[in-house]
Symmetry: D2
Amino acid sequence: MNKFGRIFSISIFGESHGELIGVTIDGCPSGISINEQDFEHDLNRRKPAMNGSTPRKEDDLPEIVSGIYKGFSTGAPITILFRNKNISSLDYEEIAQKPRPGHADFVGYKKFEGFNDPRGGGHFSGRMTLALVAAGVVAKKIISPIEISSALMEAGGKKNIVKAIEEAVSNGDSIGGIVECSAKDVPIGLGEPFFDSFESVLSHLVFSIPAIKGIEFGSGFEAAKMKGAEHNDVFMDNSGKTLTNHSGGINGGITNGNDIVFRVVVKPTSSISKTQQTINLTNGELTQLAVQGRHDTCIALRIPVVLEASLAIVLADFKLMSY
Amino acid sequence: MNKFGRIFSISIFGESHGELIGVTIDGCPSGISINEQDFEHDLNRRKPAMNGSTPRKEDDLPEIVSGIYKGFSTGAPITILFRNKNISSLDYEEIAQKPRPGHADFVGYKKFEGFNDPRGGGHFSGRMTLALVAAGVVAKKIISPIEISSALMEAGGKKNIVKAIEEAVSNGDSIGGIVECSAKDVPIGLGEPFFDSFESVLSHLVFSIPAIKGIEFGSGFEAAKMKGAEHNDVFMDNSGKTLTNHSGGINGGITNGNDIVFRVVVKPTSSISKTQQTINLTNGELTQLAVQGRHDTCIALRIPVVLEASLAIVLADFKLMSY
Amino acid sequence: MNKFGRIFSISIFGESHGELIGVTIDGCPSGISINEQDFEHDLNRRKPAMNGSTPRKEDDLPEIVSGIYKGFSTGAPITILFRNKNISSLDYEEIAQKPRPGHADFVGYKKFEGFNDPRGGGHFSGRMTLALVAAGVVAKKIISPIEISSALMEAGGKKNIVKAIEEAVSNGDSIGGIVECSAKDVPIGLGEPFFDSFESVLSHLVFSIPAIKGIEFGSGFEAAKMKGAEHNDVFMDNSGKTLTNHSGGINGGITNGNDIVFRVVVKPTSSISKTQQTINLTNGELTQLAVQGRHDTCIALRIPVVLEASLAIVLADFKLMSY
Amino acid sequence: MNKFGRIFSISIFGESHGELIGVTIDGCPSGISINEQDFEHDLNRRKPAMNGSTPRKEDDLPEIVSGIYKGFSTGAPITILFRNKNISSLDYEEIAQKPRPGHADFVGYKKFEGFNDPRGGGHFSGRMTLALVAAGVVAKKIISPIEISSALMEAGGKKNIVKAIEEAVSNGDSIGGIVECSAKDVPIGLGEPFFDSFESVLSHLVFSIPAIKGIEFGSGFEAAKMKGAEHNDVFMDNSGKTLTNHSGGINGGITNGNDIVFRVVVKPTSSISKTQQTINLTNGELTQLAVQGRHDTCIALRIPVVLEASLAIVLADFKLMSY
């Protein structure tokens, strides 16, 4: 279902090489100042910025076509469109027959019985995260003064991210990475015991971002090696602030007033220049594939602002529900 | 919201030390043979079985009170109740004032303004997973012939699980663990690109299980260190079967026909016998706490069957939606 | 889907002649005083009270089995059970083969492929409204000080309801009726333009009550004959109060501060003593049927309190969403 | 919530005098032939066609901007846009201060605290039904061979519709009407006992259409005057076909294989040329209003195709769920 959220909810549409990408934001309270310049900062952070990102260049100028009147949200659904301009003229007929290993090409073909739009991944494309980032800009206004930040912690298993990417580019290969995201000044009490724990709802949204294969909160997978006496965060006072934050700001599925902290793993981009074996979907024979065109060497580079948007969207929904 | 699922959906109710725990399963097709004996095997697997599990003993006999007629599902909601019998007589008044570090006591008190049921964690208790396991038994019938299995891979950071637990018991402490779960013979095409990727929906359910702080699919966090050429799974033939399974059976949020494989981290139980510092919620002063009563040293021991149930529930829902 | 509501949501389960009828109320705020006596008044109003109602006698004592602790709602789901005691010992095997004309027997058999519980209509029974009334009692506490009332306006096309029923009883027949329901002191602004207009959400719930075949708001079907100048309600002042109330308290799907007023038509009970023609589902032959057992001559008599409950549930959900 | 439907679901956005009106259709199966010409017939039926309809003229050409590739649905969300071209240049500042009696102006202003778009009713406008009709065109393809039809039965209380409208136009007034809609060749078994009866879900959608104040199925409000022996539809054979169709094709909330038949009442348009009393929202004083600009004398004229769309959307959703 292309909809997410209970009160503050978003739905997205569009394809990578179709006419546009769009997002409809429903449940935004009226009276929030929103204009097209507000989106510039976060949309720029999502753009390919350095070696290692796709050379596809798009303006990504948001067109707000509903829900805003005289610069303020009206309470009606806000729809934002992004025209696709720099559309590749590759021969997608051939590509459609040779699914890229590790990509959604094969499952898209099978699930939609060959009717999926194969151009640039169609609706499965990482370009859809443009819609998430736009919705995140609106969500950040709603959750103020909560502050969200995110950063790429390592790429290709190394802290020296620039070097790891250069190496991968020179090999025609790609690398994965780990991105951390956190929120400060979160109120106590967001989330539900069953089934809408804060982790449940956030991971639901985060796993719709292409290439993410794992998520952990607070001490995360390290917790498997810890003792309870070590892992339990000690309360400092009645406010719920704790000395450590192994919980990642969440107990029993509910925010505890400490910083929300989570990390995701981003797999290496599946589209690589190196020649790979694949199958021909029409005749079933094994064949070779070297992905032409533009792709990111390290898609993890562009994930931080998408994670921030995801966290903001979830916080906005829980905040509006908590009154 | 205490409901999960779109077609095959479940809602749970009850408290650890209340009268009962229950689950209502909606959307189960008619004509499925279901009787109370069917639940015995999985419910027994969830029971505390060895040193390291809580000494609370419950029969956990399911009472099917609706939705079954003459041994078959009728198409109406199936409700299953489990009476709580072995209810502790501890003085919960005192406990309610001293939140256990790392537990939901504090957030439960704050979110529900002191009206939460503090006895044994109330609705936040791990005992609620009884309801998930029961729903999983029904789900497993629906998804046949898909086969699901799960196992505890390590505890306290060690493969020698028995030893790690003995050590923790002797220290009055607790330990975490890592549990893996997988499914064989999964059809291609379950899941949606946005926002209901298979990982999204499964992680949503999994993170409602108390004590789980991370989830990873396929190669998971290891993918951060891999190259694309290495991580991309090579197709063997037209069926979509791949030589490796770094994807964990899912590409672009959709099952690809290979085994679904995921792992979760279970944090060490927060309730420990060791004395810990906490706060008094009434007067705000720091105080000491040594958790009395019954608790699991390694709650991860009891998680495998709960993960199986979660996976079965998600598969059942996607299967019923995919027609 | 056996669930209704977005924040204050209810799910129901059980069958007319099964073990019990139950309702789970999710999203009830914590701290609301609720005890079993609170239900007595409305449950009694739903009971068969006079000639024309079924002679089936049930205590209908609510058992609150979750979500209440020390007399107050905890914020966790509230489940209330009603045991079925006065279960008829009729031979339902035969009845299951001969669908009652006008009843759900035929569609239940077809939809659930013969696995439906045919005893007393199973999950289709009017007895399920017991669950609605119980949820309505909780909802009424949440929406205070809004006041709801409801009454049977006519039966069998006549204002002299007692006489109309007596006549029908003597003929072994049944009659329909019209029930009006209204709410006073409703705040302005409940409801959404698309698709959750107040009328949309309320009619959704109301049409799940068995036997209801129409609903109208304010001037309702009379509006077809009116002119705009006549139908438009004139504002008296800035508060939005109007001289007339043809709108039924709702404009553009949103409450306008005037009384909510709606009416429903209740069809004559389909179960009648008179001999009717039906079919044998097994062999397809035409056959005769005279419904044995207990049934209401005028089920509309018992609908007012069910409508009140429906309106209260919808108001509670919108109120909790509107903050 | 601007979303309707469980599997086949739609969300709408836009304002009467904003840039555009749009609809996103989610859950449409892949492989359905859809092109812009397909919409022409139904969109034309919705246009103002005769005396009595608004003189606002719009091309209403659909732009399909996502979800279609090479003329077939891809399985991804289908978004269709309609540019607003003939936008009035009236001074809406003044109008925003004087709510039209019987219109959503007042509640829109209050609910959204003055931030609503007041131009032509904004998101409350009847123009939003353009989106419903477009979604209906897609739905009709999915439900084939079910056939849907609809007609205006009476206007201003008269069967001579043309004359009734002429009279109202000459008086600067407006009139209401009654519209009937039906479907043939409906399969048995669509709908759910609780809470998603066929009537529930259909009325939910129908009441989001502006100006509708009542709905009735089959014999509808006439049933209040009938006896059970009269109202019960007699089965003709094992197929479930009945001699009469008082049920309107639905028993117990589930389609029974007979024609679905329902009627709605459309109130007289609230915007009329006649001078009316209203209030000034800024200073609270009583004032006069004569609605300028374009409006329909009998909006009921344009409702039949909107009802058809609504019924098709609901049938499509139930059909896709029923597999």
